[in-house]
Symmetry: C2
DNA sequence: TTGTACGCGTTATCAC
DNA sequence: GTGATAACGCGTACAA
């Protein structure tokens, strides 16, 4: 089977006895073309099966209607929701979305951003890889007036768009909540401290302790590499083996928190009575684990949508200088059973008989 | 700040006293250029900050090194792993990946595939929307010799590449497993029957019952709209209120199965003793729910990787006709506690005292 | 091994 | 309101 010839604006021009320029303008709703002509041309285009070549248009404009994304990995709940939000906003505006995964490696982030640059994207949305500490690879975009939006995991220094949540307040609230539940020794599962999100969550934790007259104890702050399930289990085991074990845990993500719940249950440690636990992100697993995990909900899709809109607005406004604009979104403390001591107390009173 | 001028092959040509064609060839490792020259040119390109313009190259070749994806939604575990697999394979081969979500609407799938076509993608990977029953929108690709790979949710008729799992066998095995656990009345949570995956899973279920001498009862086969958590809860409630309720459930996805577990627990129905449950997909929640959900694991990332490779191979081989090639991947039955009656029996013997 | 010349499909500019 | 022309950056047939 041979390949069908594609229809171009020249074919339309010949067919309708117009010049290619007129066709082009009509197709783009240029105001200088009469409504009638526009309709006639669009109808013919539809009928003849014309499809625009965005490559050609992009070459001509030195810009493709495309948003590039660089993230760690797609298959994590927060990330896939973020992308989903970006994609939806972008597509509504007629933009495509190119994704790339760094797998938390600086090297990959570097080559991915280069590849995205080569596609002449209209804007870049980045959630930094765990390893990244040098930001020079974003200059190529900024030098070309291409907006870069950092989302969630953002650099401290660089002037650019940023879309984040208030990690400090969230960490503070989560910890305060545990204190209100009567916890006196609250441990913290901390992420890599050179990434803003983890650093700020920890700061919130520390300040909440201090402001409520609780000591900040080094042995209760555990630094994780990846906040994985496995790491969570091991760390919980160590903590609970302490002479004076914690009675509460604030974990910087849900995976490690869920792992703590499961470990505690396996050891006969009552959650939340003996150990109250709160996580971060509101991943699907957090409402499935038993007892359900209290957590901080992260408006992932919304963050994606806003990031995309920053780029779309930027293109429209044609900003001529590097600007710094930070958008801070609200989080929500979600109290479930893993930290709700009042409810647990009520329950245990009601059912004296064991419930299996 | 003004925008920096971009370096083109012309700039390199001028700088090195070569013609643009030599530069172009050297950059593409054309064999007619001496190794030394290639090195010299590549070095200079690197040094001068040259970045290829893939738009121009794509226009010239009438093909961009890009793989397009059309799926229902990104933020579902199976889909995000699928995309992750595609992205990884594509990027290793120097291809970009454009994603689009149909949100299970035919209308969106239609406009998304058009947009992808306009980008002159090298190939399209599709998991059909729930609504799609007409496949004409894929002809534009096939007519142009652009490979279309259907993955997981595939059309019955169309000749094209397909990457699937053996849903029939998986459904059969899952059901057989429940039978082996002693279940006599096994219910099935079925998905929309016009999508191959759900139809085949159900067939496997039906045949397993028949071949083991169990009756196939209409009242035990429940057709779901979306296999959601909420639907799962309601349906389980109805089933368990039957005069003769089921003692096993094979659910076509994990979400509904987990929901069944949680509902059963809330009603004091013992899982797996009174009700054995098995799901499909091996989503993260399935290993977190208590008792952990038995399920069928779906090699999502692998399916993505293979789909991408089909396209890359196709481009290389330059197939000149529409071919039909189906790849069938193995699934794995994962037995956890929700269906493991032997283990449950053992446990209840051991611990006479309540363990809360 | 390298250079010349052209065209891919579109759109911006200038002219009428 | 419409047309002619050039240019975007690259790859390749043909020539040398």
């Amino acid at each position: 089977m041979s390949i069908k010839k594609e229809i171009t604006i020249y074919d339309l021009a010949k067919e309708l006895n117009y010049s290619p320029s007129t066709i082009s303008r009509a197709l783009n709703d240029h105001k200088s073309i009469s409504k009638k002509t526009v309709q006639r041309i669009k109808n013919a285009a539809e009928e003849m099966g014309y499809r625009p070549n965005t490559l050609a248009a992009g070459l001509r404009n030195n810009k493709s209607k495309t948003i590039g994304i660089s993230i760690s990995r797609i298959n994590r709940p927060f990330m896939s929701s973020l992308i989903s939000g970006i994609e939806e906003a972008a597509r509504n505006a007629g933009y495509n979305v190119i994704i790339s995964q760094s797998d938390d490696k600086y090297k990959n982030e570097l080559s991915n951003t280069k590849a995205l640059y080569d596609s002449r994207i209209s804007g870049l949305i980045v959630s930094l890889s765990m390893e990244t500490s040098d930001y020079k690879h974003f200059n190529q975009f900024i030098d070309q007036g291409i907006p870069v939006v950092f989302v969630d995991r953002v650099p401290a220094s660089l002037n650019s768009y940023k879309v984040v949540i208030d990690n400090y307040s969230a960490g503070y609230s989560a910890t305060k909540h545990l204190i209100e539940q009567g916890c006196k020794r609250i441990a913290h599962f901390a992420g890599a401290q050179h990434r803003n999100v983890y650093e700020e969550r920890k700061k919130g934790y520390v300040d909440a302790l201090k402001e409520h007259g609780l000591p900040v104890e080094k042995e209760l702050i555990k630094y994780f590499k990846t906040l994985s399930f496995e790491e969570g289990r091991k760390t919980t085991a160590k903590l609970m083996a302490l002479p004076n074990p914690p009675d509460g845990i604030f974990s910087a993500n849900d995976t490690a928190a869920v792992s703590a719940i499961i470990y505690a249950k396996s050891m006969g440690i009552k959650v939340p009575e003996d150990l109250a636990i709160i996580g971060f992100n509101d991943d699907p697993i957090s409402s499935i684990v038993d007892p359900a995990l209290s957590t901080v909900s992260h408006p992932a899709a919304k963050m994606g949508e806003i990031s995309a809109k920053r780029i779309l607005e930027h293109s429209r406004a044609n900003y001529d200088k590097t600007i710094s604009e930070v958008t801070i979104l609200n989080t929500e403390l979600i109290i479930r059973d893993s930290s709700n001591r009042a409810k647990a107390l009520l329950k245990s009173k009601k059912s004296r008989q064991p419930k299996t």
